[in-house]
Amino acid sequence: MNRGFWRSGDPLVWTAAGALALCLIMLFGLVGLVAFRGLAYFWPAELVQLELADGSLVVGQVTGRERIPAPGGTGAAARGRIQLKVGNRDVYGLDFRWIEEDLITGWSAPPELAVVERLEQGDAYGVPVRLLQDGEVAAQGDEILERLPAMLAEAAALRRELRRLERDVVGDINRRIEAARLALVRLERQAGGGAASLQGVDPHQEAAARGQEAAARHREAIARAQAQYEQVLQEIAALRRQLSGRTLVLALAGGSELSVDVASIVRIYRPNAMSPGEKLGFYAAKLWEFLSSEPRESNTEGGIFPALFGTVLLVLIMTVAVVPIGVLAAVYLKEYARDGWFTRALWIAIRNLAGVPSIVFGIFGLGFFIYGVGGSIDRAFFPERLPAPTFGTGGILWASLTLALLTLPVVIVATEEGLAAVPRAAREASYALGATRFETVWKVVVPGAMPGILTGVILGIARATGEVAPLMMTGVVKLASELPVDGLFPFIHLERKFMHLGFFIYDLGFQSPNVEAARPMLFATAFTLLAVVLVLNGAGIGLRNRIRARIEKAGPG
C-alpha cells in the first residue's frame, strides 16, 4: 500500500504543482504590489481632517497604517498608527507624519479642502480663502475656484514661453557662440601649423590674411549672439514679472495661513468634493501627465517621459546592433565553421559569457567603447572641442552597444538552437534542387530558424530593458536636459546622455532627498518599466507568431 502510494507518483506531482503555485504567488504578488501601488498614485485620494486628543487639527492623506509593537511583551493590547501625508513642506518641514490611532478623537472629510499641486515644495493642503492681485484682494471663497483655472492656464502658457526662451532660444544662441568659438580654435590651430610649414612666403601671407578675415567674422558673430542674449534675458525678466504678482492664500488646519504664488501652481482640486466621473477624468489627466511630461522636484513629481523615451530608444538601438552581429556569428559558427575543439571551446565561452555580471560589461563598455573608441573619435574628428569630450564620454550609443554585447550570447545561443531545429530534410531538399550551401543557408535554414532567432531577441530585450548597472558607467543620468532625438540637425544625437526607467527607479529609491515623497512615483515608474518590457516583448512575440503562422499553420485560402 505504502509502496504503491510512492510508486503512483502522486507525491511528486503534488510537489511539482506546489512549486508552480509558489512561483505564481511570488510573481503575482510582485506584479500585483507594483501595479496596485503604482496605479493608485494617480487616484485623487481623500483629504481627511483629524482632531487629536490635544485639541489640534491635522489635514492630510492617509498613506499607510501599521501596528506598533507593544513594549514589554505581548500582554498589552496592540495599538495602531497611521501615516499621514500632511503636505505643506515649506510650513511643517516634513510632509509626512505618524499619528497614533489612540490619539485621534475626530475624523472628517470636509469638501472645501483643496489640494494645491505646486512646482516646488510639493503639495499644499488647505482651504483657499483669498486670491490676491498685487496685494489687493481679487476674489474670495468659492469665487476663487472659478477664477483660478483661467489664471493657471495663462500661467502655464507663460511658463511654456519662458521655457522656450530659456531652453531653445538661449540654447540656440549658446550653440552659435560655441560654433564660432570652435571655428576660431580651428583657425588658430591652422595658423600655427601653417606658420611652421610655410615660412613667410606670399601664399602664406595671403592665407593668413584670409584667416584673420574669417576670425574677425567669427568674433563678430559671437558679439552679435551675445547682444541677442542680453535682449533675451530682458524678455525673460519681463515674463517673470508678468508671472508674479498673484497670490493664493490657503487657510491651514490649526488656523495659520499659507501664501502660494499662483505662477507656481500646477493644478488645484478638491478631492472630497469630486464625483467618481471627475475622479476618473482626473486620473486620466494625471496618468497622461506622468507619461508625457518631464520630472520636477528632483524626480519626485511630474512625469517620466525622458526616461521612458530613453529606455525605448536604448533598447531599439541595442536590438539593431545585436541582431545582425549575433545572427551572423551564430550562422557562421553553426553552418560554416568546422566542428573542432576550437569551435566547441568557442561555444562554451559564448554560453558562459551570458553569466558574466552585467557590471563587468559596464566596465568594459567604459574602457573600450567610451575611452577607447569614443576617445579616438574625438581626437580624430572633434579635436577643437578637446578637452571637453564629445563621444569620449557616456552616451546612449555606448550604453546601447554595451547592452548589445551583454545580450549577444543570448541571441547567439538562441539562433544556434533555432538553426539546429531546422530539419535536415529541409536542407537536403534545398541541395537536391541544385542550391549551393550559401543559398540553402540563407533561403531555407535562416528563415526556418526565424522563430528561434526572434525568441532569442525577445529574451535579450527582456534582459536588457531591466539592466541598470552597466548603464551607470556608460552614460545614464538622473536628469537629462535634452532628449537624444530632437529637431536640431542631425536629429539623432547618439552621443548625448540619457535617462532610463531602471536608473530612475534606483535614483528615486536610494538617492532621493525625500524618499517618502518619492515612493508613489517609484511604484508608478516600476510599473511603467514592467509595462515597457511587456510591450516590447509582446511586439516580439507577436512578430514571431506571425512568422510561425505564415510558415506552419494554414491561413484562410
Partner: protein, 315 residues
Amino acid sequence: MRERFGRSVWQRQFENGEFLEEECQVTPVPLRTASLRVVGGGREHAGPAGRGPNAHASVNGAAGPAGTAIAVEGLSVRYGETEALSGVTMEIKKHRVTAFIGPSGCGKSTLLRCFNRMNDLIPGAQVSGRVLFEGRDIYAPGVDVTELRRRVGMVFQRPNPFAMSIFDNVAYGPRLLGLKKRQVEERVVESLQKAALWDEVKDRLRAPALALSGGQQQRLCIARALAVGPEVLLMDEPCSALDPISTSRIEDLILSLKEQLTIVIVTHNLQQAARIADETAFFLAGRLVEFEETAILFARPVHPETERYVTGRFG
C-alpha cells in the same frame, strides 16, 4: 544566373571534347525554358512533345550509349568503416521507371543518393567507381554538383516541403535559376499541373505548404523537383509515409511522368514495384543481385535470394 548556368554547361562540354555540332545549333537552357513555356500555356500534354526531341538530340549527341540515362561502373560506397555498396554495375534506361528493391540496409538508398551526389553531404562517405550521367562521370573533378542536382532531381521518403507557402516551395528552384517573375510563375503553374496538384491548391497558393495533407505534400515535393526541369527523378521510398489512396495517386503520377523523365524509385513495397516499374533491381547486403525487366524478375528470378525475397520468405 541563367546565363551562367548555360555557359558552364557549354564550357565543360567544350573542355571535355564533347562539344558537338548538333548541340551547337541550340542553346540548351533557353530552349528548354522556351519549351516549358509552351507547356505552361497549353496543358501538360504539350510537355513531352515539346521537350522530347530536344532531350533526345542531346542523348544522341552525348557520348553515352543511346537510351541510357545513368551508367554505374563498379561503384562502391563506404561510410567510415562500413561498406554500404560494393561493386555495383548497371545501366538505367531513359524514360523508364526503374525500381530498387531489397531489405533494409541493402544499399539501395545509398546507390540512389550517389546519382545526384547527395552522399557528399554525409561526413565520412567515400565513393569509388564511376557513375556516368549522360556519358559524363559525375564524380570527376570539376563537376558542378549544383548543376548535376538540377538535372537529377530527388524526392525524399518523408514529404519535406519548406516552411514557406505552396507557391514559394515550387518557385524555389526556378528562382535559384534566376528566372524572371513571370517565368517563375509559369513554371510553378506548369509543375503543379504535372504533379496533379494544381486543381487542389490553385486557390490557395499563398497558404503554408505544411498545412497540406501528407499526400499533397509529397506531390508538392514532386512539383518542386519538376520545376527545375530535371531529366532524371530519383524517388527514395516516396510513398512509405503515405496512406493507400495517396500512394495510388503518386503511382499514377509516376506513370504519367515517365514520358518526360527517367525515374528511379526505391521502394519497400513489392506490389508497388510490380505495378509501376519497367525494370527492377534487387539488392542484398550492398550488392546488386539481380536486375531485370520487372515482369521477369518477379515471375522467373534467376537467383534463389531474389526468389526468396519476392515471394516474401525473408526481408
